[in-house]
Amino acid sequence: MCLVLFCIGLYCVLRKRNIIKIIIGLGIIEYAVNLFFVLIGYRTHGRAPILAKDQQILNMVDPLPQALVLTSIVIGLAVTALIVAIAIRIYEKYGTFDITKINRLKG
């Protein structure tokens, strides 16, 4: 069940061509990990972890992973924004998104 997600995330590790593609791959990895986290916390026939006024809910899903994923979504957004900013600057300096042409640093 959870294995399927790894396929998504890892398939995109082989993203090698374009800077934007790399960013996209990173985003997909991010999604996969988040989804995995939530799947861990799911309980069969569970209920959302919000108390209702009139009834007692017993079978709730695990709220902790949800809290963690909330954090990690925001982290992902922050990283994406920063990397896009860097990518835009790179485009301005090099005039291309192609990483094989961006190779002034050789080590």
């Binding site: 919000i50 900013a85 835009i88």
Partner: protein
């Protein structure tokens, strides 16, 4: 997205004028009710930011920046972050970091309940909203500069 200066077509502008207020209001609603219903500071903050971004996309950046300038956005963001830290520190005075210092927590399901959580939500939403708007404005502004060169 033909031109930043003039914005989009008339239809888009009209619709935007109608919806921006609603989106903003919805963002504020989500922030304030974060402790009783789904949503919260982050989601609400992003929605608030989106309402401004919406404005910016439709009318071009001058109009949006008139409503909320970029410096104001970054100041607001710092303020939001400081406010969050201050809430933490207030708790620190009362016992330890992030101590829930309202002893009276109010009735559950009320708007004014749950101690520090709504306050934290507001602080976060301020920070998130202003911060994301600042990022976006910076990216757009930069593109503008690039074109002139």
């Amino acid at each position: 997205m033909k031109n930043n200066k003039t914005g989009m077509t008339l239809i888009v502008k009209t619709i935007t004028r109608l919806t921006v207020g609603l989106i903003l209001l919805y963002g504020i609603y989500i922030v304030l009710h974060g402790h009783i219903s789904p949503g919260g500071g982050f989601a609400g903050g992003v929605i608030i930011a989106l309402s401004f971004i919406h404005l910016m996309l439709a009318f071009g950046r001058e109009t949006a920046l008139k409503k909320l300038s970029q410096t104001a956005a970054s100041v607001l963001e710092s303020l939001g972050a400081l406010m969050f830290l201050a809430i933490a520190l207030l708790g620190f005075l009362g016992g330890c970091l992030f101590f829930n210092f309202f002893l009276h927590k109010g009735k559950p399901f009320d708007l004014f309940s749950a101690g520090i959580i709504p306050l934290c939500n507001i602080a976060i939403s301020l920070e998130v909203g202003a911060g994301l708007f600042a990022i976006f404005a910076a990216l757009i502004l930069f593109k503008g500069l690039g074109k002139e060169e």
